[in-house]
């Protein structure tokens, strides 16, 4: 398997077949003499924009502090949760619980549901 071609930027799907963003970054753990391995999948704006330019990454972090859902650190998913890597990457997690949908829920609650006809996120 090739990491950049087959994993990076792929779409993540949770246990309940919910889209939960794309792979923004990957953490590789390197030891002194042991074989390096991929420990975490990263998602979220700061990781993403840092890839374009570090300044954009810092800007993204700052904006998230001013506005939007309050969560202190990056969303990191341990690699052990990966079920399959195919067209998409299926994860054995619940998107809502690990914080991947923080922005989705925040926008739904603060904006969309306040507009008539927007519906309700919670009703299923």
């Amino acid at each position: 398997m090739k990491l950049v071609r087959d994993v990076l930027d792929k779409k993540l799907i949770d246990r309940e077949h919910c889209d939960m963003s794309r792979v923004s970054g990957l953490v590789m753990r390197v030891g002194e003499r042991s074989q390096p391995h991929i420990s975490h999948i990263l998602i979220g704006g700061p990781t993403l924009w840092t890839r374009v330019h570090p300044a954009l990454g810092r800007l993204s972090t700052r904006l998230a502090q001013l506005w939007g859902p309050k969560r202190k650190d990056l969303v990191r998913i341990p690699w052990s949760r990966v079920m399959t890597v195919g067209k998409d990457i299926k994860l054995d997690v619940k998107a809502r619980d690990i914080g991947a949908l923080d922005w989705e829920i925040w926008i739904a609650q603060h904006i969309i549901e306040r507009i008539p006809g927007g519906g309700n996120k919670e009703e299923e």
Partner: protein, 404 residues
């Protein structure tokens, strides 16, 4: 039977998607200023578009990826961000132009200036997106768009000289006004080969759950739909050549273009034009705003579907809500939609390589397309389109300065 219905609907959609303020304005300008001489530009643009649209549909049907999905996955986020910046900027200008086109149609019908229509029009467009489903938007708007067939009726009724029209299908150099000729040619190509149509089409294939069995159908829809669309554009050009060129009228304003069919169809020509533009621009405005929202949602991996209730795909709905109301602002200040149209056509041409070059890679990807990837014919066509797109992107901005 069901397939025939789907094919018919698909063709109607493509026809509806083809004609919008950009293609009508540029075709009318071309006819008014240069007679049949620029017909070749519409022909060339249509052929390119047939191939590109067929490929977009095939990519989606086989790989279940839209173009945006595939661009982000293969080329990574930094490159995707650049493509996004270019495409969203251009698509936003096109959206301003289409909303302006609706406003101008209402202005000539009612007498109330288009800036007054900016807010009501964007509100209606937004409401259709908010409440409507993909099928309603795709089929409803394009069925209304069938009124644009009146352009063909008008063109035929004016008894064009078919021989010299045929000559126009081959490129020639004009005697004078070379810069203007070049500028209009580039604008026509920019209006025809519009990437947002590719993004919209491939997202539509995913929304309609296409699979490999749709490949032949996709071919028919792309081929016939775009051909009919191109014919409509050519009809506008021919009608303009007959109505405006002998009188020495150049099309600078929408009010002038409104006279296109008044001599061919005396009784209803004016109203046919106004309603054709109204519905064509409405359809295009819906498609462009969807295309922009798809661009963000697919690129960032949000859940997206026009068929969901807004709160089920909050970020997607939020994206088009913001975009549509931002697009109303320039119109509120009375920015001339025709100027925006011409500028966005030139910018489309300038950013074309950004959309087409990655596409060549995607269409040859064995992982995405397997045995359905491009053969040498399609690849040669894409290579030619890339060549054209680089020429266009280099000359479009200088031509805008000299000829615009």
């Amino acid at each position: 039977m069901k397939k025939i219905l789907q094919i018919t609907l698909g063709i109607i959609t493509s026809v509806g998607g083809f004609l919008e303020i950009g293609s009508v304005t540029t075709a009318a300008q071309a006819g008014a200023s240069f007679g049949y001489q620029l017909l070749w530009a519409i022909l060339l643009g249509t052929i390119c578009l047939i191939f590109l649209v067929e490929m977009s549909g095939r990519l989606a049907a086989v790989s279940k990826h839209t173009i945006v999905d595939a661009t982000r996955e293969r080329f990574g986020f930094p490159f995707y961000a650049i493509v996004m910046l270019g495409m969203v900027l251009v698509a936003f200008m096109v959206l301003v132009a289409e909303l302006g086109g609706i406003g101008l149609s209402l202005q000539i019908l009612s007498g109330l200036g288009f800036p007054w229509w900016a807010i009501p029009v964007s509100f209606v467009v937004w409401l259709l997106m908010w409440k409507g489903t993909f099928g309603l938007i795709e089929n409803g708007a394009s069925l209304l768009g069938l009124v644009t067939i009146s352009f063909v009726v008008a063109a035929v009724k004016m008894h064009p000289d078919w021989g010299s029209a045929g000559h126009g299908l081959l490129p020639t150099m004009p005697g004078d006004q070379k810069a203007k000729y070049g500028f209009i040619a580039v604008s026509i190509l920019g209006a025809s080969i519009s990437p947002y149509l590719m993004y919209f089409y491939s997202s539509g294939a995913i929304e309609d759950k296409w699979d490999e069995s749709y490949i032949p159908m996709n071919r028919i829809i792309a081929g016939f739909g775009m051909t009919f669309g191109g014919l409509l554009s050519m009809a506008v050009l021919v009608a303009a050549a007959l109505a405006f060129q002998p009188r020495g009228i150049d099309i600078d304003k929408f009010e002038q273009a409104a006279l296109l069919m008044t001599s061919a169809l005396p009784k209803w020509g004016f109203y046919f034009f106004a309603f054709s533009m109204l519905f064509a621009c409405l359809g295009a405005a819906l498609e462009v705003s969807l295309a922009i929202a798809y661009f963000f949602a697919q690129g960032f991996g949000w859940n997206w579907s026009e068929d969901l209730e807004p709160s089920k795909d909050a970020r997607f709905s939020f994206a088009y809500t913001i975009i549509i109301f931002l697009a109303a602002i320039p119109l509120l200040f009375g920015v001339d939609p025709i100027k925006v149209t011409l500028m966005s056509m030139a910018l489309t041409a300038a950013t074309l390589p950004l959309a087409i070059v990655p596409f060549l890679f995607l269409m040859n990807d064995p992982i995405y397309l397997g045995e359905h990837r491009n053969g040498w014919v399609s690849n040669s066509v894409v290579a030619i389109i890339i060549l054209i797109s680089f020429v266009l992107s280099v000359i479009s901005i200088p031509l805008q300065i000299i000829g615009g």
